[in-house]
Amino acid sequence: MVNKFFASPQAALADLPDGATIMIGGFGSAGMPAELIDALIAQGARDLTIVNNNAGNADTGLAALLKAKRVRKIFCSFPRQADSWHFDALYRAGEIELELVPQGTLAERIRAAGAGIGAFYTPTAYGTRLAQGKETRRIGDRDYVLEYPIHADYALIKAERADRWGNLVYRKSARNFGPIMASAARCTVVQVRETVELGVLDPESIVTPGIFVKRVVRIAPSMRKAA
């Protein structure tokens, strides 16, 4: 029987090793898997490479992981924010490596990894400093930059509802990076608000088919920290 439900965030992340590359879903706090990140902090893995659109806000979630000095490198499109002080301090101290990637290129590099694409040409960033040192090519009447996929060992994402096969639906703009990160990691761990029986999710409306998901943890609203 296929059953991807795990009893707790701790159980779902127990085997995560030092040095892992981890995609973390969310755009700002929408879709950020806060309880999984808390479990990652408690779990203790270090020397991590993180892929996220941002570099943490205030003192919780990804920012707390950074503060605990557990991250060696981060892939990010928009690290600098009014409340990204933990990232800012590490960056200024030279204690974290930043690979700055335009947001659409970040998304496509993640998608490409999940789709088995070896590399792709994108017009984004051509002629800018973010394309320096990269291979370029003129195709038709446009110039493109060669970009490579980003693969991950783990993806930690948040969805609204899952069944035991790992089929997922999301909620509103919290979907953001979830579906593509789920496809790009060897082990995708999802926190959901609700779990349902097989057959309850409308097959026409499933956003992430269960093949992309390894582990599901239910975080009921009552278990959530006050926002």
């Binding site: 755009f27 700002g28 706090s29 929408a30 879709g31 659109n53 499109s77 928009f78 690290p79 600098r80 924010q81 990232f87 800012d88 960056y91 200024r92 930043l98 700055l100 990637v101 335009p102 947001q103 659409g104 290129t105 970040l106 998304a107 496509e108 993640i110 998608r111 994108t122 017009p123 984004t124 960033a125 051509y126 002629g127 800018t128 400093r129 973010l130 999301y170 909620r171 509103k172 703009s173 919290a174 979907r175 953001n176 990076f177 979830g178 579906p179 593509i180 956003v207 926002a227």
Partner: protein, 216 residues
Amino acid sequence: MNKLDKKQIAARVARDIPDGAYVNLGIGLPTLVADHLPKGREIILHSENGILGVGPKPAPGEEDEDLINAGKEPATLLPGGAYFHHADSFGMIRGRHLDFSILGAFQVSVTGDLANWHTGGADAIPAVGGAMDLAVGAKKVLVMMEHLTKNGESKIVERCTYPLTGARCVNRIYTDLAVIDVAPEGLHVIEIVEGLSFDALQRLTGVPLKRLATAA
């Protein structure tokens, strides 16, 4: 002269957006355009975090943490709106599906190069977000900005001194002084605010401008 304020620039940009257009409004000044879209036109706003059909700000108390715009502010969805993931969202941008991308700028060059993401400071923490995708992807890229810096220097320049967001990507510039098209043969002034002569605009701008017959 009747310099336009930020709301008036936004209203001027909005006038040029036709019924049925798909539009992305960049963070900052361009978000004001949403408040000035002409009544009677159905214009569909895209937010790069995965929304088409973005509606007005929610009423106080109605905010939903799962529904935010690209500026990470609470948003709403219009009937007919849709959610999608980031790769689809940027596919819409790069794939030339958006009719307009409206962006702020530090500088625009005579050839339509855009600088709007980095001031070039050695100690600045870089952050680019979706700006480079929005600069190259939309069918038309519109820039709205003040014509001059606080020190009175033209933001329309021969060559951008700030790091580029995109090369040769801007189609039209809306400032507090003028509306200017970036054409293959140079900058064409479409409109000038009341009380400012073409010659005075030319002196303030510092790079060669061409006057279209229709410009005052």
